[in-house]
């Protein structure tokens, strides 16, 4: 056992109602709370700017929601495969873990591909038609900042999940690591649910 591991055992605090079940999980939750405040700040900023703007295009018409609705569906599905991956690895089912975590990664990658397509379509065709661009209207600015910030999170999640899958296949990671990666992935899904409603539907 390494020196750090011995140290860790000796400083493990006594059980109390405030002691988390897993320190890794507590760390991820603290990170997500901070991250939620970043998204919260952006969403609140978007809301207030929109409320204060004299003109604002109808988002569902300017952006189109068919593709985005499908992207939402994709992300919800990838959240489901993530919990199924956790369920599989908890039961020691390695084939199931490989299948479901692989599908989760694939879902995330497909989401990114569709978002790249959507952005290209918006920038080159749709937004110029209504005379709006990133630098000329807050509608486009807030849209690209919010969806871009979220897209970066999805990119990070795809890389994170791929690393976790690789480490699981080599036997280095187990159920608790998949659970922590899952927390991040579900958070990204949760934020998209809010963005889809506030930016596309409202």
């Amino acid at each position: 056992m390494s020196e750090a591991a011995v140290m860790h055992q000796t400083v493990e605090p006594a059980e109390s109602p405030l002691t988390p079940e897993s320190w890794g999980k507590l760390g991820m939750w603290l990170f997500l709370a901070g991250d939620a405040m970043s998204f919260g700040g952006l969403i609140v900023g978007y809301g207030l700017l929109r409320y204060a703007s004299p003109t604002w295009p109808v988002p569902s018409q300017a952006l189109g929601i068919n593709l985005t609705a499908f992207m939402t569906f994709l992300l919800i599905c990838s959240s489901v495969t993530m919990v199924l991956a956790l369920s599989a690895v908890t039961k020691g089912n390695r084939a199931g873990l490989k299948k479901f975590l692989g599908l989760t990664i694939l879902g995330g990658a497909a989401f990114l591909g569709l978002q790249a397509y959507e952005w290209t379509h918006l920038i080159t065709a749709r937004l110029p038609e209504i005379g709006v661009s990133f630098s000329t209207h807050l509608f486009a600015t807030t849209f690209f900042v919010l969806t871009g910030f979220h897209g970066m999170h999805v990119t990070g999640g795809v890389i994170y999940n791929s690393c976790v899958l690789a480490a699981c296949l080599r036997g280095r990671y187990g159920a608790k690591h998949v659970e922590i990666a899952g927390l991040y992935w579900h958070f990204v899904d949760l934020v998209w649910i809010l963005i889809f409603t506030f930016v596309y539907l409202l």
């Binding site: 109602p17 405030l18 002691t19 988390p20 079940e21 897993s22 999980k25 507590l26 939750w29 603290l30 997500l32 709370a33 901070g34 939620a36 405040m37 919260g40 700040g41 969403i43 609140v44 809301g47 207030l48 409320y51 204060a52 569902s60 929601i65 609705a69 939402t72 569906f73 919800i76 599905c77 959240s79 489901v80 993530m82 919990v83 199924l84 956790l86 369920s87 908890t90 159920a175 608790k176 659970e179 899952g182 927390l183 579900h186 958070f187 899904d189 949760l190 649910i193 809010l194 889809f196 409603t197 506030f198 539907l201 409202l202």
Partner: protein, 90 residues
């Protein structure tokens, strides 16, 4: 342990999320007052977010510490809205 609680019905949660998403899209075409649409959409979005947090992120089965951590950013965002609102005039 992560496995201590009974596994929630993940597929059931999935159907709820899917149904709420479809209803949300239908709602924006409803010929009712804008305020009602806004209330419905925000309510459904928060319900979906809560479903993901409670069941997929297992918040419902965790100790209270993690719940407190999860609620904190919401409270701060509410505070942010309150503090910024005097500056906003439509």
């Amino acid at each position: 342990m992560a496995t201590a609680h009974k596994e929630p019905n993940y597929i059931g949660v999935f159907w709820w999320l899917l149904a709420l998403t479809i209803i949300e899209i239908a709602v924006i075409y409803m010929p009712v007052a804008r305020l009602i649409i806004v209330i419905l959409l925000v309510g459904m979005a928060l319900t979906k977010a809560a479903l993901v947090a409670l069941y997929f992120m297992h918040l419902r089965f965790e100790r209270v510490t993690l719940g407190v951590i999860a609620i904190t950013p919401l409270v701060l965002c509410l505070f942010l809205i309150l503090m910024l609102s005097p500056d906003i005039r439509p």
